[in-house]
Structures are given as structure tokens and as C-alpha cells.
Symmetry: C2
Subunit: 458 residues, 2 copies
Amino acid sequence: MDYGRIEGQIQAELTAVFGDRLTLSPGILEQHGRDESYHPVRAPDAVAFPRSTDEVAQAMRICTKHRVPVVPFGAGTSLEGHISAVHGGLCIDFAEMNEVLSVSAEDMDATVQPGVRRRQLNEYLRDTGLFFSVDPGADASIGGMASTRASGTNAVRYGTMREVVMGLTVVLADGRVIETGGRSRKSAAGYDLTRLLVGAEGTLGVITSLTVRLFPQPEQILSAVVTFDTMGDAVTSVIETMQMGVQVARIEFVDEVQIDAINRYSKLNLALKPTLFLEFHGSEIVTREQIGIVTEICEGNGGGDFEWASQLEDRNRLWRARHDAAYAALAVRPGCRAVVTDICVPISQLSECILEARRLIDASPLTGMNVGHAGDGNFHSVLLVDPKDKSEVETAKNVNAQLVELALSKGGTCTGEHGIGLGKREFLAQEAGEGIDVMRDIKTALDPLGILNPGKIM
Amino acid sequence: MDYGRIEGQIQAELTAVFGDRLTLSPGILEQHGRDESYHPVRAPDAVAFPRSTDEVAQAMRICTKHRVPVVPFGAGTSLEGHISAVHGGLCIDFAEMNEVLSVSAEDMDATVQPGVRRRQLNEYLRDTGLFFSVDPGADASIGGMASTRASGTNAVRYGTMREVVMGLTVVLADGRVIETGGRSRKSAAGYDLTRLLVGAEGTLGVITSLTVRLFPQPEQILSAVVTFDTMGDAVTSVIETMQMGVQVARIEFVDEVQIDAINRYSKLNLALKPTLFLEFHGSEIVTREQIGIVTEICEGNGGGDFEWASQLEDRNRLWRARHDAAYAALAVRPGCRAVVTDICVPISQLSECILEARRLIDASPLTGMNVGHAGDGNFHSVLLVDPKDKSEVETAKNVNAQLVELALSKGGTCTGEHGIGLGKREFLAQEAGEGIDVMRDIKTALDPLGILNPGKIM
């Protein structure tokens, strides 16, 4: 059976729910057909802007009746074509469901609508002494971050969306609404539907609210940048830091090619060497002790050119370089897009994988830089391509394929934090083995018509 | 279709796989029919002692062919009848799959067979500088702990089995073998089958190996006991400690009735007051700072009679009281069993729930004591019953039902760490709402014949 298109009767039924919050305007459809990846635009048939779980449920019932695909949309910052409407259908944009519903300072949690952005939530929390920890760089929506199991620079200390999402409201394919998890810190009550939905990329249900764990704002934040002669020395320093039980808040690796791009983009003058960006959270006593340990470890591995910052302005200056990495990379070649690899491996294997990435990039005609969440064993090769040049895109994909192969042979994964989307489906099949059949069985059980974000993950 | 019984042809097929490692000896069957709960013995038809994943897979294929129930068995320390063979069938005892397969000091992880016991693993790790953190009290098997999503006293700092299990080998109902997760610290690769299996109580697959995260052994461990005039003061101290970002390793509440039982059992002389047991892990500087903050918080809430211990012997003496809580409770009434409640609520609601538990116990003819993992908002009312006295068991269950009702009204859960098993199925249905249908759909998709630990969870 083919998918239904949004026209005639179907359009009328959706309009009855959403009024002028259902749009078929080509410009808006186009905007909703592409994320921040290299994947081409695939626009939905229509975009709806719901204001409640009930409206989402009504939309789902209509879409089930007519077998219309449904693609949930947050901020559009995904990196593997997650929101691409490859079979058309209805895009559900959560821009108007962007309220912080409640915050409990005592319980250190917040319940939010899926359209709430990461920065918006932290702005809202400013006076509570708490903060939302997951920081993927982009100002993503909390719903989207849950759906892609996002993490980012301080996951090494505070965990990923897998760890911080406590409960969800979810609209199922047929319009039923369920609550998963709750507000308790832990639970042994049946199957962990919360964690099944987190990272499901909208293929098992549509998230309409989330309860997330918050953390106390640290008394003190200290940042540092350290350079090394070799990438291996940098990674060894990371491993030793973790083994010492130092709870660094961020420990990021940036290679010399990326440093060069950053220097040009951010008008900085950092040494063109493998570099670690570090951040420490805690009391003055704790951060001072941590810094002492990490300094000793880095020096023992030949690290030098330490630059420390405790004031917000200085910290921002140091971290701007890391945060601007993606834009700095793109600026190296105006008009390009990036194919971004995302392998994650046991940290003992990280050096070998980054070295191999550099070798593969240097052996190709592409420009590429490596940046990574070293504490988690996760790094990205940012491969610059002209999206219209098929051969370049193929070359970049080929580099990724070889890195994935390597990661899997090391007990790692094809994606640490970006998700599968359109771009990594074949890798998931390889990684999961017969597990992919189990995923398919679950998908079929929860979405028998295949209307929830079709074409993604599997 | 009825379940098959292990006799004749089925017995012959299983014997062909296991030889004399398949037993039908009544004494052994009886031992495998009951855990540490009040639930009556329901013995399996046979017990197999596999030595490999492949043997488990062979057994599953036979059991699928003849629709024979399969009940995985670790240490038998579960608390809700999880291993009760309510439909007979084959018990798979992992006593002979108890090897630590590998440990990586650099990656701080270990891969173990499911029969490895918690203490055995920590003994094995002693010289590595690492330890396995999850401590439910009992010397449970790692496989069983994963299946019940166990946690315990130091989950507040190091997480539960949900957080520390990184990957699994699982035999599915039809004998297929899948690997879930892996050895990378994080992953965004498709549905989180690892966390779906953790806490599934053996109803979706049989775990035959696990990779778990380890932590560095702390440089220093300091313990303390503090008493309060009221339980509310104790809980307020816990909340303030968490809000200050103090990473206590353990923060346990014990009420005065339990202290009385402990004093008798362990020949101690603790004050009969609401008491917190605390443990701090870290460097000398860090623990000293933490102790300073927590002391100030406790004193601000009227806490007194601080008793500190840094030497192993003194720590053991202090913590013996907490660890012996369950046995001390049972010793109050020789021959009794315990109905143990396990609600977990947002911590701001903990005082009210513990007070209500005390009120319900005092209004009943039962003896009961409250102990809890206060930092997680999880506590147990240990209700002493004569298992042969139906009215007592009913009264205890009724107290639990009222506490569960209260917990659910507070955004909490009916079980923080013991699981559903036989005893909490109706509560799960209440807690999950229509989510139970989703669980059922998943169960049907993965185990269409219903042979995996039937009668549990749903």
C-alpha cells in the first residue's frame, strides 16, 4: 500500500485540527526538508504547528487512517538527514510547543515541551542554581536531542540524553498517548520504554513532553588549553586523567588542521599542534586539585603551552575556538558542506582510529579535520565536500565507511552521538547484526503501517 | 496451546545437549523454585547448567520447538519471585558460566559471564585499581542484577545497572544470538536494545554475557553515621546535600525501629533515632571538603552524634549495621519472611512517603521498619509476616498497595530497584497505563510463544 499524500480529504481533516497552523507554502516546506547535513532537500507535503499533545494525537489518528508519513521536527540541526521527508507526508514542527512546563529545584528536574531549545532552557534556569547539561554545540531542541540520543562536550561528566531523560509523553502511531518513566531517579518497573524512545529518531512515537535531570551550577568553572607534539600523547593524557578518577567536565581533542581553520576563522593564534581543550567544574578546592593532577599528567606526556582561564570572558575566548570548530571548518572552503564521521570506540583504541582517519584523509583529495570528545572515545572527521560533486561525496562516504569498519573491529560504534538517520543505515545493519531484526520487529509492533519517520534507521 | 513438560522426547533432547548437567532431582528443583521473597516455591521441571552461549541457544531452540518455559537463574537473590517457575519448564542456572572474560584497565570495563557474582568480580578486580560499583546488598549474579535493573546503596553516585551495562550477548526465544551495545562509552546507533533487555527480567531474551563499566577505586573512603530528631530533618539534609552538588557515594536513611533491630542483631548501641549512614569517596582533599559541607548541612538540620570512620575496620563496623538491616529485621521475629516495599519518588516527596509508611505500619498489627536509599528517593518498608498466615500477608500487601498509590500520585514508581516479578504486576499496569500495551506488543514481537520467564512483569 502506498503512502497517502496530503491533499483533498486528508488536507481538509488536518486543516480542521490545525487551521492556519497547517501550511503547504513551498518556502516553508523546503525549509523543513533539510537539516544541517549534506543530505539533499526532501520536503514534506505539509507542516503542522501543534500546540498540545492532543493536537499531535489527532494528527496521528488522521495520518494512521490515511497512511500518511509523519516526521517530527525540532530545530532542524540534525546531521544525518533525520528530518528529511523521503516519503513526503506531514512534518510536525514543535516551534509552538516550546514551554518549560515545570522546574523542581529540590528534585533537580524540569519538564519541558519538545520544542524548547537547549539555550532557552538554560536561560530559564539561570536563577535556580541548576543547569541542563547536555551540550551538542548546536542550539538544538530538547525533543530532537532526545530523539537522536545527543550528547556533546560535557557528556564525559554529566552523561548523554540516555542518562538525563527521566520520562516522556509519547504519541503512538495510532494516536494513543503514553507516559513513560516518571520523575523518580531510578525505576525497575518493567521495560524501559523511555530509553527505547530516546534515540529512536521519531520512528516509534512522537515525543510531546520530556522530564530531564538537571545538575547544580558549579561553584567554579576553569578552562584550559594544552598542546602536544603528537595526538597519541594527547590521548594518553586523556586516558590517564580518566583512570585517576578526575571528573573533568569537558576534555576535547582538536587536531592541527582544525586548529589552523580555527585560527583563520576566529582570528586566533593557537599553536598548530594536537590540542586538548579542558574544563573543570567544582569548588575552588576541587578544581585546584583536579588541575594539579591533570597538569602533571599532561606534562608527563610532553604537553605544554598551557593556557588557563577562570573568568567568563577568558573562558569564552578559549572555548570559542572549540565551539566554532564546525563553522571554522566550513569556512575553509566557502559553499561546501561537511560529511561528518562520528565513530566512538573504547578509549584505548582512540589514538589508532584518529591516526587512521588522518591517513585516510591525507590519502584522499579531500580537506578534513579531526575533533573529538576524547573522554568518551568519540571523534568526528569533518570532511569538506561540494554537495553537487558526487565523486567528492562518495570519497567522503568511503572514508567514513573505512573508519566505521575500523571502529566495529574495536568494539565501537558507527555513531556516538549523531544517530543513524538516512546516512548510516547500512552501518547500523553491519553493527547490529541480527539485532537489526529485533529492531525491525519492534518497529513493526509499534508502527505497523510504517508511518513514523519512514526511511530512517532501517 | 499448553506449555510442554520436560519428559520423554523433550527430556531426551535436552539431555543430548547437557548430559548430566541437566537434572530433575527434586531437591535441586525445589532450590530453584524460590528466591529471597515471600512468594511460595514453584519448582521448574528441570535445571540445566550450560557452559556456553551456544548451549543456551540449543536449549532455547528445543524449548521453542516444544513450547517449554525457560527461566534464567543467577544467584536466586531476587525479591519478587522473579525465578519462580509458575508454568514449570526449564531453569537455566548460570552457576557454570561464571568467568570474568576480560578486563580493560585503560577502558575501565569488564566483560563477564552472567553467573559471575558481584563480590567475585570485585575480588578479581582488586589489583587493577578499579571496582564494580553496583551494590544491592546481596551477593547477586551480574546477569541477575542486569535482568532486574538492580541498584543499591551507591547508585546515588555511580548509577544503577541501567547506567553501567554497556553491552550484552543475548539468546532470543528462537535461539538466535545477538550482541547489543558494545564497548564504547556512548552510542546513537539505533534502538537501545541493551537498555530494553536490562530490567526485562528474562522475559525478552536470555543474557549470556555482559560488558559493564568500572570505576577507579577511590583514594580514600570515609564513613559517617548521623542521627536526627525527626525523619524530615534527615531527608532535608539529604536534599540540601544533593543540591550542593556533593557527590556522596552512599547516603542511606534508617528509621528508629530498624535501628532497634540492628542494635539487637549486631550487638550495637546506636541511638534510637532517625539516622543517616554516609560514605564519601575521593582524594583526601575532596572527602575532607565534602565532609565539611555535609556536617554543616546536618548540623543546620539538628543532626548530631556524628560518628566518623576512615579505617576499613571502623567503616565496616559502621556499615555492618546498614548492611545487616534485612537480616536484623528478620531476626526480630524468628521464622518470619519479609514483604518489602520498594517505592521511589522525587526526593522532595520522600519525607511525606516515609511518614505515611510509618503511619500505615503503626495502624496495622505488623512490625515494620523503614530503610532507604535516600539520595535516590527510594526506600523500603520491611514488613514482617508469617508466610503461612494469609491475613498477615494480605495486610502487608495492602500497606504496599497504599504506598504505591501514594508514590504514583507523586510522579514516582512502584519499584525503584527490586523489579516487578510476580508481586508487582498489578502495580505496573497501574503505573504504565497504556504503556503496558506497548510492553505487551514488544513481548509478543520478541517471544511470540510466551516461553521466556512466563507470568512475570505482565
